[in-house]
């Protein structure tokens, strides 16, 4: 009974955090709400005694959200990622596909001809999972893992101007280069008229920050 209650609580947390992803106006809150949702799912997997999968889910999802924070600066530019923004777009299409997928998966779960459980699972589930992956599914893993790894590395290399245009700098890069890069970035975000609202927010935030700093320096004297 306590296990069932815990399961329900975790399920509610997972769904509520999932809803929060789209209700919030901050990228940071959205990504970590998603992380909370996945952590709840990971803990539910622990309840099924799938310890390895459960803990790995927690590990991968939290790490993914941290990497998301890097991508959000790398690919979106500084301003839009830091400003309040709407987390939903193309609403009709998204809602339609989400409901469709949900119905499809539910139908699959309800209609599939699941095999009968043959008594309690014995032995080390982590070891049998490893054997399943490394023996019959070895080819799939061998294909998928280099592709995933190459995707990650090339995304990072492409996003980093130095990675794209020069080898790893063994001597420190001159400041002029850095200034150039930043100038371009700012021009770019300023160009798009659609982001006018964002730049207004940017000014707000700028003011907020300088206030914060005033406080900081005042406070420094007391310490």
């Amino acid at each position: 009974m306590p296990e069932a209650i815990l399961f329900v609580v975790l399920a509610v947390i997972a769904v509520a955090a999932g809803v929060a992803v789209f209700r919030t106006d901050s990228m940071a809150r959205a990504s970590y709400a998603l992380a909370v949702s996945f952590v709840a799912v990971g803990l539910m997997l622990l309840q099924f005694r799938l310890e390895y999968i459960g803990v790995i889910t927690v590990l991968m999802m939290v790490m993914e959200m941290a990497v998301m924070a890097i991508f959000m600066i790398m690919f979106m530019g500084m301003n839009p990622a830091l400003m309040p923004m709407d987390m939903v777009h193309s609403k009709k299409l998204s809602a339609g596909s989400a409901i469709g997928l949900f119905l499809l998966l539910t139908a699959g779960i309800l209609l599939a001809d699941w095999p009968e459980s043959r008594g309690p699972a014995g032995g080390d589930l982590t070891a049998s999972l490893g054997e399943a992956i490394m023996e019959p599914k070895m080819l799939v893993m061998l294909v998928i893992s280099p592709v995933l790894f190459a995707t990650l590395v090339s995304a990072l290399v492409l996003a980093n101007p130095r990675g794209r245009y020069s080898t790893y700098p063994l001597v420190p890069v001159e400041d002029a280069d850095d200034d150039d890069g930043q100038g371009k970035g700012q021009d770019h975000s300023g160009d798009s008229a659609g982001h006018a609202a964002h730049s207004a927010h940017g000014m707000d935030h700028g003011a907020g920050n300088s206030d914060g700093h005033g406080q900081h320096h005042d406070g420094g004297g007391h310490q």
């Binding site: 310890e51 790995i56 939290v62 890097i70 406080q215």
Partner: protein, 313 residues
């Protein structure tokens, strides 16, 4: 595979583990301040951490304009929580709070939580320098995490298990540090990195006025500083369990050996990191991936070959 290798503690176990973590972490902070006092030609200094804690706990907490309070608090409090959750699977001698079958992966997951917490603490303050600090930590974390994961793989492969108790038990004949020294060194470096100690202090260095900690005061600053020492202590504990034979030793009881080794290793790390200069955040990636990763992969290869030969013979 052998759940009986260690014994799970009853309900007071978590409290005992927390108390042990706090005492070990405090000892690390005391050693640090004794060394700092000696360096500047003074004597004593051992009670400086307690005085500083008392000062911070009485200090009013300051918050920034339009801060994301929720994220900031999660990040600030999270470091200590992550350290405590790590310790939950750490066998202290023959005792452990939770004998999880995948304890090593749990440790790794909790150390990834530190990525999130440091970034959240930096982000949530809505201030430039903490934000820069948070991103600096992610830059370091991307560099150190993969070598750390492979360093964790080596003892797991040798023991044939992810259970911390089994890994300790597998070192009865020979401590893993003897035949996997590279993994040990990489692991210690990663411990310094995930506990934000030098040379990995760029996220909170002086050139960005303290980075993640620059706007923190009062109990917030106390929690972050405590979290760093707790993570360092937990890391030292795992280094002992993974590479230094856990609680094995003559005469004295297991738990005493374990705590003794942990404390000595912690003090060594505290003394060592005082002598290392700080890395700039972009300086870590190339050494960690171009040198560190191949070296640790070779180490894992050697361990795998030795283990498989040992099993078949």
């Amino acid at each position: 595979m052998t759940p009986g290798a260690v014994q799970q503690l009853p309900a007071w176990g978590p409290l005992a583990a927390l108390a042990a973590l706090a005492v070990v972490a405090l000892s690390g902070a005391m050693v640090n301040d004794v060394l700092a006092a000696r360096f500047s030609g003074r004597r004593g200094g051992g009670f400086a951490p307690i005085a500083e804690a008392a000062r911070l706990l009485r200090q009013r907490r300051r918050s920034t304009v339009a801060a994301d309070e929720l994220l900031r608090r999660v990040g600030v409090a999270g470091l200590t929580v992550a350290a405590a959750l790590k310790v939950a699977v750490l066998p202290v001698g023959a005792w452990v709070v939770s004998d999880l079958a995948v304890g090593l992966v749990w440790f790794n997951a909790m150390d990834v939580l530190v990525w999130a917490f440091v970034w959240l603490a930096g982000w949530g303050q809505n201030s430039v320098f903490p934000l820069v600090g948070g991103y600096r930590f992610l830059a370091l974390a991307l560099a150190y995490e993969l070598p750390l994961m492979f360093a964790l793989t080596a003892p797991a492969v040798a023991a044939g298990s992810l259970r911390m108790g089994d890994i300790v038990a597998a070192q009865e004949g020979l401590w893993f540090v003897v035949w996997m020294p590279v993994a040990f060194v990489v692991f210690l470096a990663a411990v310094l990195a995930f506990s934000l100690q030098r040379p990995f202090t760029a996220p909170m260095s002086a050139d960005i006025t303290g980075g993640v900690t620059s706007e923190l005061s009062g109990v917030d600053r106390f929690l972050v500083l405590t979290g760093r020492y707790s993570l360092l202590s937990a890391g030292a504990g795992f280094a002992v369990a993974l590479f230094l034979g856990g609680g094995s030793g003559p005469l004295l009881p297991d738990w005493l050996w374990f705590l003794g080794k942990t404390v000595v290793l912690l003090w060594l790390l505290v003394a060592l990191r005082r002598r290392i200069p700080q890395l700039r955040p972009e300086q870590l990636m190339a050494p960690a991936w171009v040198v560190g990763l191949p070296v640790i992969l070779l180490q894992v290869l050697v361990v795998a070959v030795v283990t498989i030969n040992g099993r078949s013979s």
